[in-house]
């Protein structure tokens, strides 16, 4: 018998097994006197807070800003945001860990979200994810390869979002150039960018269907 993948074993959320450290002080709203906040970040957050009737609405914008500065929502990043927003870091942590785009651990410079939802996987997204994963393996410095839920671009399935830029339809052959463009800061696969696509572009999916996900079993 083969083991069933266990939620909680193969998919532990970091922290499930974490006890608290009695050496630490309780995490209250950081004291501006002791908590250093980069001026740039402070400005962004304060500007964001000013846009809303209730400053807490700025939480997600603030976390986005902190993440782009620190690379992920690190404890330090959360403390800095908490200090400016006058909330507890725990409040921010509970928000940050709720959303997929806010990273809970250090990640590579370039985010590569590969859509593996229905429409994309019908067109071989799982093979694509595997390929990108392989190609990027060992370069965690540069790449944060993640499978993602429907990114809202099923018309260019299978697709990926590279640092926010949608590209597709992708085939396994595109992978090397995709990573290369990203690594070297060039526009990623310019002719496959969603931005250039017409509504229901007849060219878009003229390519033959890729070998089907079922056969390569990468989804099992």
């Amino acid at each position: 018998m083969t083991p069933v993948p266990r939620l909680g074993d193969d998919a532990r959320a970091s922290g499930w097994d974490r006890a608290t450290d009695p050496e630490k002080d309780p995490a209250l709203i950081p004291d501006p006197a002791t908590c250093e906040v980069p001026a740039q970040l402070r400005e962004t957050i304060e500007a964001a807070m000013a846009r809303y009737p209730d400053r807490r609405s700025a939480t997600i914008p603030a976390l986005h800003a902190a993440q782009s500065l620190h690379g992920w929502c690190s404890p330090q990043a959360l403390e800095q945001v908490a200090c400016v927003m006058r909330v507890t870091p725990a409040y921010l942590d509970s928000v940050a860990s709720f959303y997929d785009m806010l990273e809970q651990r250090p990640v590579g410079r370039h985010s590569v979200y590969v859509c593996t939802n229905i429409s994309c996987s019908l067109r071989g997204a799982d093979a694509l994810l595997a390929a990108i994963g392989e190609a990027a393996a060992g370069d965690e410095e540069n790449f944060n390869v993640r499978s993602f839920e429907c990114l809202g671009a099923c018309d260019i399935a299978p697709m990926a979002s590279v640092d926010g830029v949608y590209v597709g339809p992708l085939s396994v052959e595109d992978v090397p150039q995709l990573l290369d463009d990203a690594r070297s800061g060039r526009p990623v696969l310019p002719d496959k960018q969603l931005a250039t696509r017409l509504v229901a572009d007849p060219r878009a999916n003229s390519q033959e269907f890729p070998a089907h996900a079922v056969e390569d079993g990468s989804s099992r």
Binding site: R6, L7, T88
Partner: protein, 741 residues
Amino acid sequence: MPRPQPRTITLTIDGREIEAAENAMLVDAAKHGDVEIPVFCYEPKLGNPVGACRMCLVEIEGIGKLQTGCSTPVKDGMVVHTQTARVKEAQKSVVEFLLINHPLDCPVCDKGGECPLQDISFGWGGGISRFIEPKRHFVKPLELSPKIAIDRERCILCYRCVRFSQEISEDYQLVLLERGAHSFVSTFDGHPYVAPFSGNIIELCPVGALTSRSYRFRARPWDIEDAGTVCTLCPAQCNVSLTVRDERVLRVLSREHHEVDDGWLCDHGRFAYPALADGARANTGGDPTIEVLEGKPVASNGLGPHGVHVGMRVSEPLLRDGGELRPVSWERALEEAAAGLKRAGAKTAALVGSGATNEEGFLLARLMRETLDSPHVDSRPGGALDVELARELAAPALQAKVSDLEFAHSVLVLDCDPIVDAPILDLRLRKGVRRHEMKLERVGGDDLDALRDTATRLSRQGEELVILWGERFASGVDADERARALLDLAAELSLGETDGAGLLEIPATSNGRGLRESGALPNAGPGLIAAETTGHDAAAIAAALAGGELSALHLLEVDPLSAGDAFAAQGSPWQGALERASTVVAHATLLSEGIAEHANVIFPAGSYAEKEGTVTHPDGRVQRVRQAAAQGGITRPGWRVIAELSLRLGHDLDVYDQKEASQQLFDAVSFYEGLTLEEIGGRGVRWQERERALAHAGATAEPQPDAERYSGADRDTHAADTDTEGEESRTGEPPRGGERT
């Protein structure tokens, strides 16, 4: 703010017509018809329902989907079904869902036997689970804080604990992390959940996910007794229920009283207690929460591993002999104490402090005035206040209730810090601000103009203004004029005439109000009646002792030299005072610096779980302290010690059991008159709400109590105590394991 006055409506549940308050939540209304709708996430104390657990699904005619009874306000003519196949099916499925990832480790779960999930699974579950996949497994239990352990496997994500942290104590330290089936309760980056009220989440948790590290595995629900009493560790006097096993207090739970504590406890009250009570024989299991609070263990012969030492629990009489304190028989201790006091006679003074009950304070005052003919007795660390002012301040009309702090338009916090002085009131204030848009402002005690201005401004926004003030405001040299100012202000803003408005004082000691009303004041006898001869107040006593004008001091649960004691605020003079005093008699629970150094005789005093008597809440609620556990060692109740001393000094106070002591008190205090322990019962009685309250308002100075007044007190009127908590047999009798002289 107008209190809600809902009208009564009629609805039908399971074919039975029932009456309920309009817009009450269905699950609450259902109780009137003896219908129980199971709930997990619903807890009214936490504010609006969240409808998360879905356990309370019921069928309401006219609505297609099943509705959550916890969030459905009842309306007139509503027709509800809780027993239809559809409802049962839904409830069964919710239980099944909840048990998917909940370990069935009840036999080794600390909650076992008092677990809502257990009960509801039994009552509403299907009895079987079709979930054959392995459950998830985490490391458990984990330390959430030094006081609380968390078992994430057992958590059913009902949101109660996190809602408490976010919406009640508002510390926002405890949160849910992650999403969906991954969600878990945690703090930020491994910081411990340390906050003044954190312990409440243990009581809130409907499963064994959050447990008290000091109680875990110390007892099972079927081998414990509950004993209701009142916590006297601070003036808030929260109603508590003690979990007792083999005469030992293992746990303190809230005994919800809306007019006192609103169902919450502060961590000090919750965790400090068992250690204190159990000091002598503490089995701490190495739990940090206990180590810090406990008097170092002492063997039951009274001698600890290191002999007599500061911090130990006093569990039998100690006598200073050749500079050294050593345990002696009661006979010997009383002998010596009496001799010392006799020598000093009228040159004796007495201080009554935090742990003392009304009866103890009352009897000690009698000992001073009647037996030793000394007027020098005080219970106000801050010095005497003019009697008339004291009476005016205690005027029933002017007295705000605890619940007023929640519903008033505004509250002015004057010269006190609730979170420190009476923590539970802090939660009440937050509630008022959060739920009833109550205005909250603070002013210090020095700037009387600022006080006036703020108060006036606030009262303009709504006539219901409560001034929550600290005893220290009416203390010190200009106490009288400050009190006067406060009274004038109150009159000006007609706080007395407006219900919901008024004054509420936080005394400096736990039972400050009760002790004053019981006559433990230099200038007033029982009932705040001006004393014939006015004695020295605390400060003057210190000076007089230091100056040799007084020679003996009787300390009832006071140590003016130990930091943290309200009287220590007086500072320096006491050092000299105690050094000069020829006789110092003390009643103490723990041996503290000052008395360890200076007392000649020390009597073991009972903690609030070990004694009987009454105390008076800052808002005038007379409450009963009930004995829940035996006091370790060789002990006698305080009232009895004082009575025996008096007898040896040639005056019979005529109290031979606890009830008589209480009865004497009620007879002596004009506005307590007619009170009985039965009437006070488990919830207490605000004397302002009784007939006799007028006695206070109208009373002209009655003669201060004298011996005859009690002789022939009709003892048979003290009907047997029919009150529910505690056992009658305990009252008065020396506790088991006690008396050996």
